[in-house]
């Protein structure tokens, strides 16, 4: 079954927030995108609850540069604060991802049609995505184009391995793991010749349980309906 797509995403700013700095409000970005951020970009391109996107690898094309901006974040009780955010600037990534069926959604098993979602995803990539693409946070706009992974020359093509410490990988949402738990995963990324190969979510060793959460259930008729039904109307 064909299920892999490749695209390039670029933007002027990116913010893949480091959780340590997130709480204090003075957000600082990681130097490379997290699995979850890339999964979010892929989901913005095309997604249905039938499938789960798995990011295989990402290639970093531009040199990693940061830029700080002063921000006036809002307070919960009204008024605003002052903060300094450190964004990544002028980013471009080539991403290779594939989707798998979400086995925990039995109610959507009729939708696991070979070719349907793949074709729709390809079309969505060509059009730059169905929904707004953003790089980490909503205020960092991104633009998606189809591409061949590995084409063009990147800044780090000839670099030996660069590795970072423990970094956030992604969240385990209850509808994708089958348990009513919300967890965070961590891993230690390594970039070889500009490419980071992600480990699969199930293979992440470090996990933190956050809280209990329940998945949303889809029932035909109330939360989704059959295409034929819509056409009749």
């Amino acid at each position: 079954m064909r299920n892999a797509i490749e695209f390039t995403v670029r933007g002027v700013f990116a913010m893949f927030t480091d959780p340590l700095t997130k709480l204090g409000g003075e957000k600082c970005s990681y130097q490379v995108p997290t699995y979850e951020a890339l999964k979010g970009i892929t989901k913005s391109i095309y997604w249905k609850p039938t499938l789960i996107w798995v990011i295989d690898r990402v290639r970093i094309m531009n040199p990693i540069q940061t830029q700080t901006r002063g921000i006036k974040p809002l307070n919960y009780g009204g008024g605003n604060d002052l903060a300094i955010y450190t964004f990544l600037s002028k980013v471009e990534y080539q991403v290779q991802a594939h989707f798998e069926w979400n086995e925990f959604r039995e109610e959507l098993s009729a939708d696991r049609i070979d070719g349907k979602h793949y074709e729709m995803a390809l079309r969505a990539v060509e059009r730059g995505g169905r929904q707004d693409v953003f790089l980490g946070t909503r205020d960092c706009q991104g633009y998606v184009e189809p591409c061949k992974f590995g084409s063009g020359s990147g800044e780090y093509d000839n670099r030996a391995e660069i590795s970072w410490g423990l970094m956030f990988h992604g969240f385990d949402y209850p509808d994708e793991i089958g348990k009513p738990e919300f967890r965070a995963r961590f891993w230690i990324p390594k970039m070889e010749k500009g490419v980071i190969n992600f480990v699969a979510p199930s293979e992440c060793e470090v996990r933190k349980f956050i809280r209990e959460m329940h998945p949303k259930h889809f029932t035909e008729g109330s939360t989704f309906r059959n295409v034929k039904e819509g056409m009749d109307q």
Partner: protein, 670 residues
């Protein structure tokens, strides 16, 4: 990012080589520094022996603290466990008219009670003889009584602590000398020393490893929050509930990791409270913050709120990125001693700038880099970090780079070679025979520091905020090889062209030097040389040269005539930059009377200058010469190089004419 892991590594490595008694101590975890005023010495059974006021050098003390007491502030500050202010340690504080902090006004005995409670719990958990002695003495509640009886603290007529301190009282009671302004004796900070007898040589509690470890163990055992640490990935570790402040200086309330921001939208949404969003191990947090504090004190550069610090995890020396070349080389000489000789032939071939200036500069730079390379190992990593705060309570990491040692040095070298230009720097000459010093201005090829660039672009009276922002922008140019911001280059050029805007000549010449340096740096591909390039035919360069020659002729003529005016060229410089062709006609026309004067009195000199003018004219492409378009910053390069060249020549020519070199007079400032 791994800044917190790197700081941890730095802490562990540094701890082996650093003692506590130092100006900038590397603190053990759960401890902080505080300036104490009085040291009270007790004996092993808790009896008062003596007390003394501490002199300025002795005041800094390492004291144990809890998470809350380390970052205490506000109207109800929490007490430290061992050494603290009078309202906490003295049981008879209220009897002597002491005023507690306003938050405790309802229950004035509270500070002392809570202090006693904590100290008792600690001593009960681990009865060390020194802390036991302190506890027994504090329970007696006669600290102030003893201090007054031993003439360390004054009393007023009513037998209470005085409410006003005048200079005379300060002289009589040296313990009060550190109080500032309207501070009362209530703010006196006490530290303890316990003499256990002949067996124990060191009476102080802050140097005693047993006491430090005892507190660390007790405090860690008393905390109950366990969870996963986001830094190490280990589960079930003790978590920090509050993170340390006082990172940049002891009055700094800003925190790097703030852990409970419920007033904003920082973690709301998927997370219901702060613990779900992030957790850092207690030891990791303490070590990392202590290491950062220590590094900033030792080798951080501060500008308003911005702090830039660069270090190696192994603690070896590296050059500081925000200095100009001369300062950097001075620092290298201080830190490394003699620099090794670099391979001279390598420099001659490798460096495109083959002028004298260029060669000596490259040589000095290479020597310096070689000096550092010798000490840095191949695996030594360098970290450059910049911290800034928008609000007083929180700090942001505005810049963070991890590089290998060799990469760091290479980038620094590349930056310094890129923007090097002869700048007027002052050197001190000390005369050993008369023991006097003279400050002299010499032209040294040097890359300007971000501070120099900011002052040159915005003027001397630049605001601190602008200075800080400029330094941060330039940091990226230095380390990341980002292009020099064009607006800074343009500003520098514009300011340098306006000679009338400078108070003295040296400042103006420095501004020109920095403008040239930046222009050269942002047009690196044209490879300008620091010395005059007689073959360069670009329009702006040649126009700059013409201006310099005309100025030289006129200046000599004015000197010969004994007149003290500005030259036409100097007055018209700004206009020349905007409309070179038409202004040149004015300047050249104005030279005629001066040429006549020189014809009679300095004929050989005039002849030389005429030949030079003709040479430069012939290098022009006619169409370019006739155009009146604005000059880019390149004209300053031509102008400056020609000036320096003429200065050198002036020595030779004037010797022939047997008169004093007037260019020295020019340089002395007007």
């Amino acid at each position: 990012m791994s800044w917190i892991q790197e700081l941890n590594k730095t802490y562990d490595k540094a701890l082996k080589g650093v003692s506590i008694q130092q100006d900038a101590p590397l603190l053990p975890i759960c401890h902080t520094t505080q300036n104490a005023h009085i040291e009270v010495t007790l004996d092993g059974s808790g009896s008062f022996l003596r007390a003394r006021a501490l002199s300025k050098d002795e005041r800094q003390t390492v004291i144990p603290c809890t998470e809350t007491s380390a970052s205490r502030s506000g109207r109800k500050p929490v007490s430290h466990p061992l050494a603290d202010k009078l309202q906490y340690v003295a049981g008879d504080f209220l009897d002597y008219g002491g005023e507690v902090t306003s938050g405790y006004a309802d229950n004035p005995g509270d500070p002392h009670e809570s202090y006693l409670e904590l100290l008792q719990a600690w001593v009960k958990n681990d009865p060390q003889p020194k802390t036991n002695a302190v506890l027994r003495y504090v329970k007696k509640k006669r600290l102030i009584k003893d201090l007054i009886a031993h003439y360390v603290l004054p009393v007023d007529s009513k037998g209470k602590l005085p409410r006003t301190i005048d200079a005379e009282l300060k002289k009589k009671y040296p313990a009060l000398s550190n109080l500032v302004g309207k501070e009362l004796p209530d703010s006196i900070f006490i530290r303890w020393a316990v003499e256990l007898g002949t067996g124990a040589p060191d009476a102080s509690l802050s140097n005693d490893r047993n006491i430090l470890d005892s507190w660390i163990m007790f405090y860690e055992n008393s905390k109950e929050k366990y969870g996963m640490c986001f830094v190490t990935g280990a589960d079930g570790v003790l978590l920090a509930e509050q993170h340390p402040a006082k990172i940049r200086n002891s009055g700094d309330k800003a925190k790097l990791i703030s852990s409970n921001d419920t007033s904003g939208f920082t973690f709301r949404g998927r997370f219901l409270d702060a613990d779900q969003a992030c957790g850092v191990g207690f030891e990791v947090s303490q070590k990392a913050h202590n290491a950062l504090r220590w590094l900033i004190q030792r080798q951080g550069l501060r500008s308003d709120d911005l702090t830039v610090v660069s270090w190696t995890t192994s603690g070896k020396k590296i050059p500081s990125p925000l200095l100009n070349t001369q300062e950097m080389i001075d620092q290298a000489l201080r830190e490394l001693g003699v620099l090794p000789t670099a391979d001279e032939s390598e420099i001659a071939h490798g460096h495109p700038d083959n002028s004298d200036y260029g060669q000596t500069f490259a040589l000095r730079l290479r020597k310096m880099v070689a000096g550092y390379t010798v000490t840095l190992g191949p695996t030594d990593g360098v970290i450059v970090m910049a911290l800034d705060s928008a609000t007083p309570g929180r700090m942001a990491i505005t810049y963070y780079r991890e590089l290998t040692g060799s990469e760091f040095l290479t980038r620094l070298q590349r930056w310094h070679s890129k923007v090097a230009w002869p700048l007027p720097l002052s050197t001190k000459d000390t005369f050993t025979d008369t023991e006097s010093t003279r400050v002299r201005v010499v032209w040294i090829p040097c890359a300007p520091s971000p501070r120099d660039v900011a002052e040159s672009a915005f003027g001397r009276r630049i605001t601190e905020k602008l200075m800080k922002a400029t330094q941060e922008r330039m940091l990226s140019c230095i380390i990341d090889n980002a292009p020099v911001p064009q607006d800074l280059v343009e500003r520098c050029i514009h300011r340098a062209s306006n000679r009338a805007g400078f108070k003295n000549n040296i400042e103006w010449q420095k501004a020109i030097g920095i403008a040239c340096a930046l222009y050269k740096g942002s047009n690196n591909e044209r490879s300008y040389s620091m010395a005059l390039e007689p073959e360069r035919r670009s329009r702006d360069y040649l126009y700059g040269r013409l201006l310099a020659i005309a100025e030289h002729i006129e200046a000599r003529a004015l000197y010969v005539g004994g007149e003290d005016r500005d030259t036409n060229a100097a007055k018209l410089m700004q206009r020349f930059a905007d409309h070179p062709f038409s202004t040149w006609r004015i300047i050249e026309g104005g030279l005629t009377p001066y040429k006549t004067r020189l014809q009679s009195r300095r004929a050989p000199f005039l002849h030389q200058m005429k030949v030079l003018l003709d040479d430069v004219h012939s290098l022009f492409v006619t169409a370019e010469f006739n155009s009146d378009n604005r000059l880019s910053g390149e004209y300053l390069l031509g102008y400056h190089c020609q000036r320096l060249e003429l200065r050198k020549k002036a020595d030779v020519v004037e010797d022939e004419d047997k008169s004093v070199n007037i260019n020295d007079n020019e340089e002395k400032g007007e």
